[in-house]
Symmetry: C2
């Protein structure tokens, strides 16, 4: 079975871009036509999210290697939302996309294993985001289930929100907490390196802290980065530059709202606007970061 | 609308016990008759979890005030599991039980709001467990949605697992990280105190660290504690004693496996064994902690 990092890197090389499209179906931002067709009952919202995300996948699948569905929006629709998420994950897989299920799960022992089963067996995700606060033995059950299937994890290290520093920047034994977490991520990741030299445990590091991104990249060779914050959260393509290795690999850069709901879409139908926004984000990353080298290989 | 902490404390006083029954339906531990009836497909497991938890609720509802369904096990059954969890939550509510949905959610902004909507609108939980790693602005959306409905949060502070100290015990500005988190919990909690003097943001503090429990109790007057670790995880009733205030209030003590799947159930049918285990846990807490005073009032 293929190592997660190898699959991801091969897919990024094929598509020649590190852009990851976040599938965050916010009700208020959906195209009016889709909202009207399904209505705003929980079931209706779930159908609307499914239709919207699947049509968005149809557009971005030829352009990018990775998508990141956000579990929260689907969960807010109850059981119908869970079914919708399942359909979206299946469609992404049918397109051969690498899927990162963004669910930030965390628990211990058999409970953590149950979350891992949900992510890797039920939703068949290639990778899952997890929260490290509970420590090593809360990550191990995810690794146990995931590694048996060649799947990966992205551990929250330094998040992109304004208040993310409240705990993550606290000085712990003369290092900010996030560096203590990233040291642990390095250990977990290096337990199982793929043929491209990257491990199956990655780090979530926000693009809104560009200097820290550079420091963490330095600290974590061989660790894949999932970089949120690009686009609607305010980071520019150049702010993500420090996430890449010299070959333009080692990181995927997520954008959700700026691609699904672009603000400069006047006169376009929504699908043209999504394609336009995705192409523009890909171009930005290619010109402002080492990811530009991917296009040359 | 009633304040969460007032509702919880009134319910605990009525039932005269701080015991919280954790609904963790582990497939391998379920009664053979229930497993056979439904089979081990995802759908079958979901039906089995629903039947088991609802029959367990029928037994414990007259005895305790609070139950804590564990989302992970239901999620591992896919959409059918989400429906099962919904039915279990409904039954608990119909019994007038206070429900703590254990899902350890965490995210930022509208994504965190979506999780809060799932917990408080869809599943109609009285409280939700959340993970603090992302900081203040990751807690606020949960508070915004929850407070409008009189619901509460339990923030992970010091967890009961062996490796919980890896980050939680790191010395940050001369205090262990968990004390930095508990200081934040105190602030959030004291923003909105109920008439019994407790806030609507509680703390998860494991019973497996009895001395720390005492220190955190000292640090957090007016903050409700959710104490896991009692029973199968190895803590005794007396280890939870430090969680209570002088009136025997201020804490709920969770036990899951030791009640649902008691080991000393020879010769009893499983329902008699569950009732027996619940009564014995209630007795233990009453004799070994200040919660005994509840029976006298």
């Amino acid at each position: 079975m293929n190592h997660f990092a190898d699959r991801l890197i091969d897919a990024v090389r094929r598509k020649k871009t590190p852009l990851c499209v976040g599938l965050d179906p916010r009700w208020d931002s959906l195209p009016e036509s889709i909202r009207r067709r399904h209505g705003d009952s929980l079931q209706g919202k779930a159908y609307a999210y499914e239709e919207f995300c699947i049509r968005a996948l149809d557009i971005v699948a030829p352009l990018v290697a990775v998508v990141k569905p956000q579990s929260a929006f689907f969960e807010a629709c109850g059981p119908a939302g869970t079914s919708a998420l399942l359909q979206v994950m299946r469609r992404a897989r049918r397109y051969g996309l690498v899927t990162v299920l963004d669910a930030k799960r965390n628990d211990i022992a058999s409970t953590a294993e149950a979350y891992a089963e949900a992510a890797f067996h039920v939703f068949d995700a290639d990778a899952l985001t997890v929260n490290p606060y509970l420590g090593r033995d809360s990550i191990e059950p995810f690794l146990k289930v995931g590694r048996a299937l060649g799947r990966g994890l992205f551990v929250l290290v330094r998040t992109s929100n304004r208040g993310g520093g409240q705990f993550q920047e606290l000085s712990c034994n003369n290092q900010p907490l996030y560096q203590q977490v990233s040291a642990a991520v390095k250990q977990w990741s290096h337990e199982q390196l793929g043929t491209h030299g990257y491990g199956d445990v990655g780090a979530v590091v926000g693009a809104t802290h560009s200097q820290e991104l550079a420091a963490i990249r330095q600290q974590l060779p061989g660790v894949l980065f999932l970089v949120p914050g690009f686009g609607a959260q305010g980071a520019m393509a150049e702010d993500t530059a420090n996430a890449f290795d010299v070959s333009g690999l080692g990181a995927i850069v997520n954008s959700s709202r700026a691609i699904l709901f672009p603000s400069d879409a006047t006169g376009m139908d929504w699908e043209a606007a999504v394609e336009n926004a995705a192409r523009s984000a890909i171009r930005e990353l290619a010109t402002k970061t080492a990811a530009g080298k991917l296009a040359g290989t």
